[in-house]
């Protein structure tokens, strides 16, 4: 085990750490959790102070939001370090307490099983123009439909995101292909340390995407976008198609005059999810889209773009009182802007923020009651019908 940790330290340049503590100063988790600090975690592993970093509970407190990676003057890859530790930890059978009793992870492992034939396209309605399995432009729908089924009653998360994405693409004159054999991208299992199941999911998706003949793949979920563009290409080599987030697609289409929007009097704020923002560096496209909708006013939160804070939970693994504090803190910030709603692309940010205000809140309710809506649905609702 010690060798594996040494290897990990080398791979993630953790030995470059000069103990300046910038990572800890920006860490959203450390701000509320006195027991966790990215610097401490790395230093303990470097100095061998922690008997076994793999069993350290603290590693699960990391949100893998990569705000520390961006701050570090010596480019230590903290999130990679944590991910490596989690993989080692999972091999030892050590798991954190998972949200929903681990339901989401079980669903994802079941998708990895080749004996089950999923009914993945249950969301398709007659008004949507789609091609099945084959096409030049593929829409990677992600798990919005499944999550919608689980969370509709709980926090009102709607499963219409894939449908909205198709409407947008249709309006731009594209008939996207959707894949029956698509499975979960495996993001959560990878960040939980379950690499075996992740690889199964990856192989299935890569095969399905290659078989579709896609030249371009469009994502709505920031996590799918990150996982396919970064992790799949890291593990299985370059993929033979272009990848684009729906916000980038819409921003381009608006520039080319392919998409037109109705006037909408709305004051909104935008939450940069960590996967779309810091991981994929997509900051401008969503803002350009908002600018293109006449009447929409964007008010920025104090911490936005690469300084945006996290939604408090990652990989459905560490939903606790710290996460709740982070969420309440962020919602207060959003409410303070005076916006009518907070928009985000990430289904998890939306679910976690909605969950935070769903029950009793530890502060005055009026300080945090701002609706959190899906950006893709928002774009679709503003589309001008031709």
């Amino acid at each position: 085990m010690a060798d594996e940790i040494k290897k990990l330290i080398k791979e993630t340049s953790a030995f470059n750490c000069v103990e300046c503590g910038k990572c800890t100063s920006v860490c959203p988790s450390a701000a509320f959790n006195p027991e966790f600090a990215p610097r401490l975690m790395v230093v303990k592993a470097l100095e061998g102070i922690e008997d076994d970093p793999v069993t350290a509970k603290n590693m699960w407190a990391c949100l893998t939001c990569e705000i520390c990676n961006g701050m570090c003057p010596y480019k230590v890859n903290y999130s990679g370090f944590v991910q490596g530790l989690r993989t080692l930890s999972f091999k030892e059978g050590k798991l954190p307490i998972c949200s929903q009793g681990g339901l989401i992870h079980t669903m994802q492992r079941l998708m990895a099983n080749e004996k089950l034939k999923q009914n993945r396209l249950g969301w398709v309605t007659d008004d949507l123009k789609i091609a099945k399995n084959k096409g030049e432009v593929v829409l990677f729908t992600g798990c919005a439909y499944q999550l919608g089924t689980v969370f509709a009653d709980k926090v009102g998360y709607e499963k219409e995101v894939p449908g909205s994405a198709v409407k947008i693409l249709n309006a731009a004159g594209i008939t996207p292909a959707v894949l029956e054999d698509e499975v979960c991208c495996g993001h959560d299992l990878l960040w939980l340390g379950d690499e075996d199941s992740f690889f199964k999911l990856m192989d299935k998706n890569v095969a399905a995407l290659k078989a579709s003949g896609a030249k371009k793949v469009i994502f709505t979920c920031p996590e799918c976008y990150r996982t396919v563009s970064i992790d799949y290409q890291d593990f299985s080599g370059d993929l033979p198609f272009e990848m684009q987030h729906i916000s980038e697609f819409v921003a381009d289409a608006v520039r080319e005059g392919k998409l037109k929007f109705n006037r909408m009097e709305k004051k909104v704020t935008y939450h940069d999810s960590c996967r779309l923002g810091r991981h994929m560096k997509v900051y401008d496209a969503p803002r350009d889209v908002l600018k293109a909708i006449e009447g929409v006013q964007l008010v920025e939160m104090e911490r936005s773009r690469d300084k945006a804070t996290c939604c408090g939970v990652n990989a459905w693994a560490n939903c606790d009182e710290i996460g709740k504090k982070i969420q309440i803190d962020r919602l207060k910030e959003a409410k303070k802007t005076g916006a009518e709603m907070m928009l985000t692309f990430c289904p998890k940010c939306e679910i976690h923020f909605s969950c935070a205000t769903h029950n009793k809140v530890p502060v005055e309710k009026s300080l945090v009651d701002i609706p959190v809506n899906d950006f893709t649905n928002f774009i679709a609702s503003a589309l001008k019908r031709s």
């Binding site: 009793g101 492992r109 009914n119 089924t149």
Partner: protein
């Protein structure tokens, strides 16, 4: 629940393995009554007693199926009779979600069933167990059971 508890041993003739979650106050007592009344029902059912059907999370059902159970039954008090006022109403909502999930995942909602069985309904308990076992027998083995083991975790 360990994988061994639910997966069939290799080479054995297939018999449905059914996990039944029964609430302490009604359904488990119903099972008791079926027993003391010497009513016959298939021995394919493994009963897990829980305090309330509202305790059953969708995850319990998915996990049981992942580990190789061929069917899962959830039994609780009749609506209005819940010992904890409305636990069974919660169970009803959750099982609706679970049924949808099973369909989406390709397992099929007919591997799961929700039944209300009161403490006086020993006869109903035996009948439900027989019917459900027949239903699972017709569906055949759970595709996830072959190979026997779950993925850990």
């Amino acid at each position: 629940m360990s994988a061994e508890a639910v997966a069939s041993a290799p080479g054995e003739v297939w018999e449905p393995r059914i996990v039944a979650f029964c609430c302490n106050w009604c359904s488990y007592a119903g099972a008791d009554l079926a027993g003391v009344s010497r009513l016959q029902y298939p021995a394919n059912v493994r009963i897990i007693r829980v305090m309330c059907s509202g305790r059953i999370e969708p995850q319990f059902i998915l996990r049981a199926l992942e580990l190789g159970a061929d069917g899962v039954l959830v039994c609780g008090c009749h609506i209005g009779d819940c010992h904890y006022i409305a636990g069974n109403e919660e169970a009803e909502k959750r099982m609706k979600t679970t049924a949808e999930l099973l369909d989406i995942l390709g397992i099929g909602h007919d591997r799961m069933r929700l039944e209300w069985i009161s403490a006086s309904e020993g006869e109903k308990f035996a009948r439900v167990m027989t019917q459900f076992t027949d239903q699972i027998r017709k569906l055949g083995p759970n595709p996830l059971a072959e190979g026997g083991e779950g993925d850990g975790g």
